[in-house]
C-alpha cells in the first residue's frame, strides 16, 4: 500500500453582516474541523466602495463581509493567528487592496509576513466573462495582478497571488473544453504581462510556480476526473513550451475547488446534498489530479444564504470522504484506464485548439474585448438550458421525477430555512466607518493617498503604497475612487449580440414567434423589453439568457449589462418607451432595489410599465414584491425560459393592448 495521502484543505466560503459576526462564524467553523478560511466579501468591498457609498445601498454585509479599513480586517481575524492560518480571499478588482489590509493586519498581530499562506483570487478576466465584479479596464487590471504577483513572490513567498478561475466559466455555461481553454488563456494573459516586464527567467519560473487555479466540478464526474487530468497535462506543456520552466515541480498544476452551484435546484433542495457529494468525487478520486483545497456549497443555496448548520453538513461530507473512506490510502485509481485516457485526450486536444484560436485572435484580452469568448459562453449556456427545457438533459426533481413528498427540511411554518441579514447591519457598519474616519490622522491619510496616486501613475508596484495607505487608515472606497480616477472604469461586452438560441426546442420558439408577431400587430410596434441588472451584483447569466431568448422570439430588447442604478434603469424604461421591464438580482438585495426601480419609474412617467423580477427570491419576499406592484417573480426553479416568455407576452398584452 502506498503512503497515505494528506487530506486537502477544507474550507467553507463564508462571511456576512459584519466583521465581528463573520469572525464568530470563522471560529465556530475552525472548531468544527475546518482547516482553512475562505472569505466572502460583500459586493461594495469587491467593487471598491465604502459601506456608506450610494452604490452600496442594500448590499452591505449581504453576499459577504464588508471590509472598509484596517479596523474591519483586524476585527475579522481577532483571535485567529494569521501566521498559522491558510486564508483564501475571493477578491478581484480590489485584490491588491485587500491583500494590503491583510498584510497590515498580520503585521499588527506580530506575524512574520514571509510565513503568510493563502490565496487572493485576483483573476479579472473571468470577472469580465462571468462574475462581474470588475472595475478597471483590462490593461490596468492586469497591471494590478502583475504587481501583486511580483510583490508576493518576493515578500510573501508562500502566497498564491492569483487563482485563475475556471469555476465561474462553468457557472456561465462553459463546456469542459471551454473551461480548460479559457482558464489557460487567462493564465497566459497574466504570465505574458509579467514576462513583458522583462524579469529574469528564474523569477518567471517562480511566478509560474505560484500560479494556482480555482476549478468547478459538475455532476458529470467522469468528465470532471478527465478535465482535471487534462489541466495537469496542459499546464505542464504550457510551462515547458511557452515559458521555458525547466523544473518539473514548478509546473505542477495546483488547484482548489468549489463544486458546482449551477446544477443545484430549488425544487426538492435536499437532493442537492447528494449532488454535492458526487461532484466532490470528480476532483478527489484521481490522486494525480486531486484538489489541494475544497469548499462545498450548501444544499439550500438556490433558496438563499445558507445557515451555519447547512455549511456544517457540507464540511461533514468532506470529512467523511477524507477520514472515513479508504480513498487517501491508494495511489491513482485511473492510471491505465483506457476510458479515462481517451476522454482526457479529447478534452485536452479540444481545449488546446481553442487556446490557439484565441491566440490567433490576438490573445486573451482582444478576445474578451471583442466579445468572442463571452459570446461562446452565452451560446453554450443557451444550449445547456435548451437541453433541460427539452428534457434531453435530465435534472431530477426539475424536468423528471417531480412528484415528491413534502420536505420536513423546508416546509416548517414560520421558520426560516435560510439566513436573513439583519437590516440594521448596514447602519451599524456605516457608524463604525464614520468613527474610523474621525479618529485617524488626516495628514497621514493624505500623504499615503498621494503616494498611491504617484505609484499608480509612474507604474511603480502598487503594493507598498497600498500597504502604507492601509496602515494610515485609508478606506476601501478611497483606494477604489483614486484608482478609478487614474485608470477609468470599464464595461465588458454582454455577449448577447453574437449568440443565438440553439435549434433544440425549436417548435416552442416558432410558436412563441407567432405569438410575438400577433402581439406586435396589436401593439402597433414590436414589444420592447428592458432587461436590467440594478445594484452591484454581476451575475448576469440569467439576464443574458432572457435577453437572448426574447430577442430570438422577436422582442426588441434593451440590455445595458450589469451595475446600472435604479434611476438609470427608470430613465431607460421611460426614454426607450418599453412595454415591460425585467430585473435580475442575485445578491439578495432584491427588496430594496426592485422597490427603488419602481419608485423611480413612477417619478419619470413610466409607472404604467409592468415590472417582473428574477433572482434568488424567497417565497415570502416574492409575495411582498407582488404586493408592491411587481407583476411576476421568477426564481431558479423557473428553468423553462419559453414558458417565462409566454407569460411575458401575456403580461404585455394585458397591460398595453
Amino acid at each position: 500500500m502506498t503512503e497515505k495521502d494528506r487530506p486537502w484543505i477544507m474550507r467553507t466560503y463564508s462571511g456576512h453582516s459584519t466583521p465581528k459576526a463573520s469572525n464568530e462564524l470563522y471560529r465556530q467553523n475552525l472548531a468544527k474541523g475546518q482547516t482553512g478560511l475562505s472569505i466572502a466579501f460583500d459586493l461594495p468591498t469587491q467593487t471598491g466602495y465604502d459601506s456608506d457609498s450610494p452604490m452600496a445601498r442594500g448590499e452591505v454585509g449581504r453576499t459577504g463581509v464588508p471590509i472598509c479599513h484596517l479596523g474591519d480586517m483586524r476585527a475579522l481575524f481577532e483571535g485567529i493567528e494569521l501566521e498559522r492560518m491558510n486564508t483564501s480571499m475571493t477578491i478581484n478588482a480590489t485584490a491588491a487592496w485587500l491583500l494590503a489590509l491583510y498584510i497590515a493586519a498580520a503585521e499588527e498581530q506580530g506575524a512574520d509576513v514571509k510565513k503568510l499562506r493563502g490565496t487572493t483570487q485576483n483573476d479579472i478576466i473571468k470577472e469580465y466573462l462571468s462574475r462581474g465584479t470588475y472595475v478597471f479596464p483590462p490593461g490596468p487590471s492586469l497591471r494590478l495582478i502583475a504587481d501583486t504577483i511580483q510583490y508576493t513572490v518576493e515578500h510573501v513567498p508562500d502566497w498564491n497571488p492569483t487563482n485563475i478561475c475556471s469555476y465561474h466559466l462553468q457557472e456561465a455555461g462553459a463546456t469542459p473544453e471551454q473551461e480548460v481553454a479559457y482558464a489557460l488563456c487567462t493564465a497566459i494573459a497574466v504570465l505574458d504581462t509579467v514576462k513583458e516586464r522583462g524579469i529574469a527567467q528564474a523569477d518567471l519560473d517562480r511566478v509560474f510556480g505560484r500560479l494556482s487555479f480555482f476549478i468547478n466540478s459538475s455532476i458529470r464526474f467522469v468528465d470532471e476526473v478527465c478535465k482535471q487530468r487534462a489541466f495537469v497535462e496542459l499546464w505542464d506543456r504550457l510551462g515547458l513550451e511557452r515559458y521555458s520552466v525547466r523544473e518539473a515541480k514548478l509546473r505542477r498544476f495546483r488547484y482548489g475547488v468549489q463544486v458546482n452551484s449551477l446544477g443545484l435546484t430549488e425544487q426538492q433542495p435536499e437532493n442537492n446534498i447528494l449532488r454535492i457529494v458526487l461532484e466532490m468525487l470528480g476532483v478527489t478520486l484521481s490522486k494525480k489530479a486531486r484538489a489541494r483545497a475544497l469548499q462545498l456549497p450548501a444544499w439550500n443555496e438556490a433558496l438563499g444564504l445558507p445557515r451555519p448548520w447547512d455549511q456544517q453538513l457540507s464540511l461533514r461530507a468532506q470529512q467523511i470522504l477524507a477520514f472515513e473512506t479508504d480513498l487517501l490510502e491508494h495511489g491513482d485509481l485511473f492510471d491505465g484506464s483506457p476510458v479515462v485516457e481517451q476522454r482526457t485526450s479529447e478534452i485536452r486536444d479540444a481545449a488546446w485548439a481553442e487556446v490557439q484560436a484565441v491566440l490567433e485572435r490576438g490573445g486573451t484580452v482582444p478576445a474578451v474585448e471583442s466579445g468572442y469568448i463571452k459570446e461562446r459562453l452565452v451560446a453554450s449556456n443557451a444550449a445547456r438550458i435548451a437541453a433541460i427545457e427539452a428534457g434531453e438533459q435530465i435534472v431530477v426533481g426539475v424536468n423528471k421525477y417531480v412528484e415528491a413528498a413534502e420536505s420536513p427540511l423546508t416546509s416548517r411554518e414560520g421558520i426560516d430555512t435560510i439566513l436573513r441579514i439583519d437590516p440594521s447591519v448596514e447602519k451599524e457598519q456605516i457608524a463604525r466607518l464614520e468613527a474610523w474616519r474621525n479618529q485617524r490622522d488626516a495628514g497621514a491619510v493624505k500623504q499615503t493617498l498621494d503616494a498611491l496616486r504617484a505609484a499608480a501613475k509612474s507604474g511603480d508596484n502598487i503594493m507598498p503604497a497600498s500597504i502604507a495607505a492601509a496602515k494610515a487608515g485609508v478606506t476601501t472606497g478611497e483606494w477604489g475612487t483614486l484608482l478609478r480616477e487614474m485608470f477609468g472604469e470599464y464595461r465588458a461586452p454582454t455577449g448577447v449580440a453574437g449568440a443565438r438560441t440553439p435549434a433544440s426546442g425549436h417548435d416552442k420558439l416558432e410558436k412563441l414567434r407567432k405569438e410575438v408577431e400577433a402581439l406586435a400587430r396589436e401593439l402597433g410596434r414590436r414589444p420592447k423589453l428592458l432587461v436590467g441588472k440594478p445594484g452591484l451584483d454581476g451575475h448576469s447569466n440569467g439576464a443574458e439568457q432572457i435577453a437572448l431568448r426574447a430577442r430570438d422570439a422577436g422582442f426588441e430588447v434593451v440590455y445595458e449589462g450589469i451595475r446600472v442604478t435604479p434611476r438609470e434603469l427608470a430613465r431607460a424604461a421611460a426614454d426607450e418607451g418599453v412595454h415591460l421591464v425585467g430585473l435580475s438580482i442575485l445578491s439578495g438585495a432584491h427588496m430594496d432595489l426592485v422597490r427603488e426601480v419602481i419608485k423611480e419609474m413612477k417619478e419619470q412617467g413610466a409607472g404604467d410599465v409592468p415590472v417582473v423580477a428574477g433572482g434568488i427570491i424567497p417565497d415570502s419576499d416574492a409575495a411582498a414584491l407582488e404586493k408592491d406592484g411587481v407583476a411576476a417573480v421568477y426564481t431558479p426553479k423557473d428553468y423553462d425560459i419559453s414558458r417565462i416568455l409566454e407569460e411575458l407576452v401575456g403580461l404585455v398584452k394585458r397591460a398595453h393592448a
Binding site: 471583442s370 477609468g488 464595461r491 454582454t494 448577447v496 449580440a497 414567434r513 410575438v516 408577431e517 406586435a520 401593439l523 402597433g524 410596434r525 414590436r526 435577453a547 426574447a550 430577442r551 430570438d552 422570439a553 422577436g554 422582442f555 426588441e556 430588447v557 434593451v558 440590455y559 445595458e560 449589462g561 442604478t565 434611476r567 438609470e568 427608470a570 430613465r571 431607460a572 421611460a574 426614454d575 426607450e576 418607451g577 419619470q604 412617467g605 413610466a606 404604467d608
Partner: protein, 328 residues
Amino acid sequence: MKPPLDVVELARRVEAAEPAAVARAISLVEDRRPSAEAQSVELLRELRHVGQAARGERVGITGPPGAGKSSLLSALSRVAREQGRTVGVLAVDPSSPRSGGALLGDRARIAIDADDTGLFVRSMASGGDLGGLSRAAGAAVEVLAAAYELVVVETTGVGQSETDVEHVADTVVLVIQPASGDVLQFLKAGILEIPDVLVVNKSDLGAVAERARSELVSALDAIYAGGAPDWRPPVVSTSAPTAAGIEELIEVIDNHRAHLDAEHALAARRTRSAAAWALRLFTQRYGDVGVDVAGGRDALLARFTKAVEGGATAVEAVAAERPAYASR
C-alpha cells in the same frame, strides 16, 4: 385605460423637450396601427410649426462594426453637453431577419446621466426593412429635432445604409477604424457615397491611426484631382476614451452646417432627403409594382418633392399617394 391622446398638447411638450413627451412621440411614430399613423401625421405637422431655422442640427454617424461609433457618440454627446447644447440621440441596431427581434445594446456604451434632461437617448431596431434605418427613423429624427439642438443618428454599416442616414441627416459622418482597408477601397472605387465628414477613430492607437489618416487624405486628393468641390470632407482624428479630437469634430460639423446655410442649401438638401425618404417608405409599403402604378420613380419623386416643398412631411407625402388598389 389611458386618456385619449392630445396631439397638439404632445407637440407642445415635445418642443419643451420633456423626456416623457419625446419618448411618447417616438413610440407614436413607430406605431403602425392606422389610428396611430393618422395621429403621427398630425404630430409631425404640429412640430413643423417650430420652423426650419430653429430646428436641431441633424448629424448621422455611420461606419463599419467595431469602428467605435457608440463610444465616439458617447464622447460627442458629453462634450456637446459641456458646451451647453441639448442632445438627442437615435441609436439604430440591426434586427434579426429570422425573428424580427433585436438586441439594442448601444445604450450601454453611452454615458447617460439619469438626471440630465438635456440628453435623450432612444434605441431603435432597423426593422430589417430595406437599408440600415427603420421606417420610423425619419419621423423619430423630426421629433428629436423639435426638442434638441443637436440630433445624432447612429447606425452600423458600410454600403446601403449610408444612403439611409443621408436621408435623415444634414451632415453625414463616416467613422473608420485604423487598419481596416475596406472603407478606403469603397471610397476610392466610388461604391461608397462620399460623406460630409470623415473620422479616423481610435487615434490612441498611434502610428496605425496616423497612417490611416494620411491614406484617407491622399485618397481624397486623388478623388478631387480634377477640381475641388465647394465642400471637401475634412478628416478628423478622434479618440473616445481621451475625448481627443471631439471638439474639433463638433466644430467641423458646425462648419458643414454653416456651409449649407451660406449656400442656402439646407432647405434644398432637406427637401431632397425628405422626398427620397418618402420614396423609400412608399417602395417599402407598395413595392416596385406600386411605384409603377403610381407613374414610376421619377414622377413619384417629383410629386414628393413638391409635397415636401408645400410643407408636408415624408410620411404625409406618402399618405397622400395611397394607390387606389391599396385602399381595398
